[in-house]
């Protein structure tokens, strides 16, 4: 850290004396990125250091424990491979579910099971479905984290063969590139080129499979700055807020379509849950 601080100071001094400063500042931000990468690789080398694992445990308990007005567990929930089959289910989502006549991602499906099997009131599950800073992820998110974790080591392999899945994928691609809202923003405004960032956060270029594969398999992820697990639906909810677009409802077609597009771009990428973010 000392070297970084010295470099930053040096960069500021040099900057005052002319154009050479810009070059030096670039070098010091590379140095910061290198330090951050050391931190991230230490985190990766010891999965135990990721507090997201606490929510994997919590999600497992919630999945297996009878709950809701109907007092049944989610073990009767079909994630696409048959009721109660969790291993590998996340790797094949989003997919079309005939019982719901909809394409669903992991969170939309768990929401559906909590409503239909356990008897929870849908409106209550959708009221403030994402945690505020410092608050733990909601039950649905913890269950989704557990389900996703049980596909670790596998690759994204959603089929997108059913006509409704194809339709959802096409909608996702269109939404990704469609500019809208008061700021005239699209997902591609920030995620449409390599090397872009918001403040110090590098942003992946999702239309490039190499970059998508590295990122998509890390969600749900533990976020250090807000001290909780953030799910993919929450990530997209926040992106919409950042773009000043209307609030996006958890499990609705818009996030499911975008997740379909992201998963398709990341096809073949390894799943490694929970990821670790800034």
């Amino acid at each position: 850290m000392k070297t970084i601080r010295r470099n930053v100071c040096a960069a500021i001094l040099v900057f005052a004396s002319g154009l050479a400063g810009a070059v030096h500042a670039q070098q010091s931000s590379d140095a910061i990125e290198r330090e951050l990468e050391t931190y991230r690789s230490m985190m990766r080398s010891d999965p135990w250091s990721n507090p997201g694992m606490l929510d994997v445990d919590r999600g497992e308990t919630l999945w297996k424990t009878p709950g809701g007005p109907n007092n049944v567990s989610l073990e009767g929930c079909d994630l696409g491979l048959g009721p109660g089959k969790v291993d590998g289910a996340f790797a094949a989502l989003p997919r079309y579910f005939a019982d719901a006549d909809r394409v669903m991602d992991v969170e939309a499906r768990i929401l559906w099971c909590m409503e239909k099997l356990q008897g929870f009131e849908r409106a209550k599950l959708l009221n403030r479905p994402h945690p505020g800073p410092g608050m733990p992820v909601k039950d649905l998110g913890a269950i989704a984290t557990y389900v996703a974790y049980r596909s670790n080591g596998r690759s994204f392999a959603a089929a997108f063969s059913h006509p409704k899945e194809k339709e959802m994928l096409a909608l996702g691609e269109a939404l990704f590139f469609r500019r809208s809202g008061p700021m005239d923003f699209a997902c591609s405004t920030c995620h449409g080129d390599s090397g872009k960032r918001i403040r110090l956060q590098p942003l992946p270029f999702f239309s490039k499979p190499d970059e998508a594969r590295k990122i998509v398999g890390a969600w749900p992820a533990y976020r250090v700055s807000t001290a909780h697990v953030m799910t993919m639906q929450h990530r997209i909810y926040d992106c919409f807020w950042q773009m000043r677009l209307p609030e996006v409802e958890l499990g609705s077609d818009v996030p499911v379509a975008l997740i379909s597009y992201l998963v398709k771009q990341a096809e073949g990428g390894e799943i490694s849950i929970p990821g670790m973010k800034r």
Binding site: W48, S49, L54, D55, P136
Partner: protein, 107 residues
């Protein structure tokens, strides 16, 4: 408390072996320096002490301060003196204690 603490011991260990123990606990670790939306201080709420005993004897102790991140992860090494049970204690401001016990299989 949103989840039970996670404890990781080796599956088994030999007498005299140095083993690594990993612990992870859910806690906000509120530093007492932050302000809420009304400008008032959020009261400090830390796990200020972590201690590990093996077969009744203390083998590790850590004092945690305001700079510790939420959901603290602590790993440490200890030498196995013989068969026994670990007892891990986290002490919160105000005196509340969270205690977890786990036996070590000695071969």
């Amino acid at each position: 408390m949103s989840a039970k603490p996670r404890i990781r011991l080796p599956d088994n260990a030999r007498i005299g072996e140095v083993i690594e123990i990993k612990t992870l606990i859910a806690h906000p670790m509120e530093s007492g320096n932050r302000r809420n939306n009304d400008g008032g201080l959020v009261p400090r709420l830390l796990l200020h002490t972590f201690a590990a005993k093996f077969a009744g004897r203390e083998v590790f102790r850590a004092t945690l301060h305001t700079g510790t991140a939420a959901n603290p992860y602590i790993s440490f090494f200890t030498k196995v003196p013989g068969p026994g049970e670990f007892e891990f204690t986290w002490i919160e401001d105000g005196g509340a204690e969270i205690i977890e016990r786990q036996a070590l299989k000695v071969i």
